[in-house]
Symmetry: C2
Subunit: 99 residues, 2 copies
């Protein structure tokens, strides 16, 4: 029975986490990454947005440690690492599909 309110600081962090998945393009990016690591231009192609837009999104996801980047030559591969984050995201997908 955690009947207590979350303090503003913690609440802001929770909000920040959910905000990471609150954009259609980022959700599509995440959905692709569920299938394994992808580089930026592949993501841009699959999602249908510019390379620049993808890079901007990945910066945010990276800073929140929701993805990790791995450089291989000229390309940068992004992937999901945190199993809790993967679960959280998949639960979101399941919820909207249960209707």
């Amino acid at each position: 029975m955690p009947s207590k309110i979350l303090d503003e600081h913690s609440a802001a962090h929770v909000a920040e986490l959910f905000r990471a998945f609150s954009d259609t393009s980022r959700v599509q990016i995440m959905s692709v990454l569920l299938g394994g690591e992808k580089n930026v231009s592949v993501l841009a192609d699959l999602v249908g947005i510019s390379q620049s837009a993808v890079s901007h999104h990945m910066r945010g996801l990276r800073q929140m440690k929701l993805v990790v980047a791995r450089r291989e030559g000229k390309e940068v591969y992004y992937s999901l690492v945190d199993p809790h984050i993967i679960t959280l995201f998949q639960q979101g997908i399941r919820h909207v599909q249960e209707e």
Copy 2:
């Protein structure tokens, strides 16, 4: 291995769901509702925002069926009903607290 991209329509719905929890005030409201149903003015007091702001937030949460409203006299009590939503939200809290 769902290596496939979410279509834009589904992705927009997932994004919409996460967006519901992407605001500090709404996260605080949700955290309070974890402890049981509360009416609007109590929520406003606890969260520290205006009655109007709470009503606006509750409208969004209501429309997404993340909360249900119950009128009792002059007051309207809101509560969480969907156990999957509760779990999803609690997972978000747990994630930020594991640091």
